[in-house]
């Protein structure tokens, strides 16, 4: 058995004022697998992504996380990304003054540099960007606009997926990417995500709603309540949750 892409063991984490949010989370993602994490508000869904990506204010207190065998907490924020970890944010940040294509190029070249590769030629970059934008049905004007500035909620999410498909991370975590999306946007975003599914990539899809999972069929579904995974199953678990809610698990936690 090869090394898991992501191996989270007994992860405890606090946020800001030392409030413990993750209380012993265990999860293993192997190559080619898509995992869905569902759970009520405040269960720690977004904290997981923030802790993994190294955001300030989110602190691991104990436990380990290995990304393809390497300790993520030994790595800087940008190193984690260059090692193949990607977080699609629930609330993507606007960056006035930085053009979208300039940003993507900087990110892509940072990764190439990290792996000792030459910068991508301008022509090859533009071709790649055009191809991925077509896949995500994005208008060409998003190329030159400033990162997320003036984008609608759905456009920001599409832009996250655009970054993901261009950077081609081995391990991606999508944090409520479906929130605020209409049916068309949901279909398009899912198309982008599905384009990356293969035997080498792993994914965690964090969501409130089962409807995303109609488009992105998970191999495993986990219920996250009060900082721990309390139940795991296949995609039928998502349907069950949709019907019955989380009350049963919350009562137990």
């Amino acid at each position: 058995m090869s090394t898991p892409l992501l191996e989270i063991k007994d992860l405890h984490a606090v946020v800001g004022d030392n409030k413990e949010i993750l209380k012993g989370l265990n999860l293993t993602v192997n190559r080619g697998e898509v995992h869905a994490i569902m759970g009520p508000n405040g269960a720690g869904k977004s904290t997981l992504g923030n802790v993994l990506s190294g955001r300030e204010g989110y602190e691991r207190t104990s436990g380990t996380v290995l990304l393809d065998g390497k300790d993520v907490f030994e790595m800087d924020i940008d190193e984690r990304a260059n090692e193949g970890l990607f977080l699609a944010f629930q609330y993507p940040v606007e960056i006035p003054g930085v053009g979208n294509h300039y940003f993507l190029k900087a990110a892509l070249n940072a990764k190439r540099k990290y792996h000792g590769e030459d910068e991508l030629a301008a022509g090859a970059f533009l071709k790649l960007m055009k191809e991925k934008m077509a896949l995500l049905e994005m208008d060409a004007r998003y190329k030159s606009r400033d990162v997320n500035v003036g984008f609608s909620g759905g456009e920001k999410k599409r832009n996250e997926i655009l970054q993901m498909t261009m950077l081609n991370p081995k391990m991606a975590l999508l944090d409520e990417t479906d929130s605020g999306l209409d049916i068309d946007a949901l279909r398009i975003v899912s198309k982008g995500v599905n384009s990356m599914r293969d035997k080498d990539h792993g994914m965690i899809v964090v969501t409130h709603y089962q409807r995303l999972l109609d488009h992105i069929q998970p191999d495993f579904v986990h219920v996250l309540v009060d900082g721990k995974i309390v139940k795991s199953g296949d995609k039928s678990l998502a349907l069950e949750l949709e019907e019955k809610g989380y009350a049963e698990y919350e009562a137990a936690a």
């Binding site: 924020i77 990304a81 260059n82 006035p96 940072a110 970054q163």
Partner: protein
């Protein structure tokens, strides 16, 4: 004896030999300067900007070089003026034919209209510094653009010292440009400094009268070394439906002061003023702006960004006046500032003076550091600390660079500001070691 005291200014003025018709104005200006003297920090307009270093700087007239090099490549078809030590050394149309209806004259050849226009807009805001400019303007450049004519003009300042730097003082370059823009004419004026390490003190004054429906775009880029001083005044008056769009990028300098004075004299006149101040090391970069709404139905918009690093000191004073008759007018002013070090200083002051009762006015100044969320976002995409920092520093200025007019101007100015910012970032990384 100090360098900008009355005696020394008088001795410099004694060498000024220009057209006879200009003499009375220059004598009056010299008397005015003797009366007012070099501004000090007890005066409201100079409270944050000390001219004290000038008083110990020994100045002399420049030794100009007639073969001053031109460097404006690209920029298309334009009228190019090479200004060495404040004086227009030559002018020519490049990249295309001579544009009919555009004249360039010196004081000796100035037409009756041009003579009448000299100092007219400036007189509405008379002060010691423009009196100094008037009294010492050994040459005045008059550019007149006829009705309905479109032209791009590029003014390049160089400071070539023939025979090298002496130890007998540093050159004082006095530049005066008088521009007349005819009805519905469109002038795109680009003013830039050619990179030059010589120390100098420059007094630059530009005055323009825009006739009905005329449009003037003034794109200014001036990057100075820490042994260079520029004291600049821009005075523009707008008739009905005229437009004046200013983009100013003053960077660095020991003392780098810009006074922008805009008079909205005709209904439906419109002005915008965008740009950025960059001050690092021990620079002092100051924009004092006065937008004066004399009549109704006019609009003004302004956004000047400040980026202050190391021991840099920035000053922005944005004054807008609405006279009693300036009804149904509006103004919006923004001054966001980014401080990159604990020792950097920004003094920002909006001043609204409103005597009309039906106007819309907004203003906002902010002072901040880099956005931590944006920084994290960049890094989460694999961009390292230094590069993320550099990108966000650049972004702060680029956000207003969109307001330049013309892609070629944008790219040219962006290259200058990016190089300066990259140098700041590189020094900060060195310090952090």
């Amino acid at each position: 004896m100090t360098s900008f005291d009355t005696d020394h200014v008088q001795s410099l003025a004694a060498d000024v030999d220009t057209a006879a018709w200009l003499k009375p104005a220059q004598e009056a200006a010299l008397a005015a300067f003797a009366d007012l003297e070099l501004p000090h920090t007890k005066l409201e307009a100079w409270r944050k900007t000390s001219l004290r270093p000038l008083t110990t700087t020994k100045v002399r007239w420049p030794r100009r070089d007639a073969s001053a090099p031109a460097v404006a490549k690209e920029l298309g078809h334009h009228l190019r003026l090479i200004v060495d030590g404040g004086q227009v050394m030559h002018h020519e149309f490049v990249g295309g034919d001579v544009v009919d209806g555009v004249t360039v004259r010196n004081a000796a050849d100035a037409s009756a209209d041009e003579q009448a226009a000299f100092g007219k807009v400036v007189a509405r805001r008379g002060n010691a510094m423009n009196a100094l400019n008037t009294s010492l303007a050994s040459e005045v450049c008059f550019i007149s653009v006829d009705d309905d004519v479109n032209v791009r003009i590029v003014v390049q300042h160089v400071h070539e010292e023939a025979g090298g730097d002496g130890d007998e003082g540093i050159p004082l370059a006095v530049h005066r440009l008088v521009l007349a823009v005819g009805e519905n004419a469109n002038v795109d004026l680009i003013e830039e400094d050619v990179d030059d390490a010589h120390p100098f003190v420059a007094s630059r004054l530009f005055e323009a009268q825009l006739q009905k429906g005329a449009q003037l775009t003034h794109s200014l880029e001036c990057e100075l070394k820490d042994n260079q001083d520029v004291l600049r005044e821009i005075h523009v008056a707008l008739d009905e439906s005229a437009q004046f769009h200013s983009f100013a990028l003053p960077i660095g300098g020991r003392i780098h002061r810009t006074d922008l004075n805009v008079h909205l004299d005709g209904h439906h006149a419109e002005t915008t003023s965008y740009g950025a101040i960059v001050a690092d090391q021990k620079n002092l970069v100051d924009i004092h702006s006065l937008i004066h709404h004399h009549v109704g139905l006019c609009t003004s918009q302004q956004e000047i960004r400040g980026i202050l690093a190391e021991e840099g000191h920035g000053v922005f004073n944005g004054h807008v006046i609405f006279e009693k008759d300036a009804q149904k007018s509006d103004t919006a002013q923004k001054n966001p500032n980014l401080l990159l070090s604990r020792d950097a200083i920004i003094d920002t002051q909006p001043v609204l003076e409103i005597y009309a009762d039906d106007v819309t006015a907004s203003h906002g100044s902010t002072v901040g550091q880099l956005d931590a969320d944006a920084y994290f976002y960049l890094r989460s995409r694999g961009i390292d600390e230094d590069e993320a920092y550099r990108m966000l520093v650049r972004a702060f200025v680029h956000d207003v660079m969109h307001q330049t007019r013309g892609d070629d101007v944008h790219d040219r100015f962006a290259a200058v500001v990016d190089a300066r910012l990259d140098a700041i970032v590189a020094r900060s990384e060195e310090t952090e070691g």
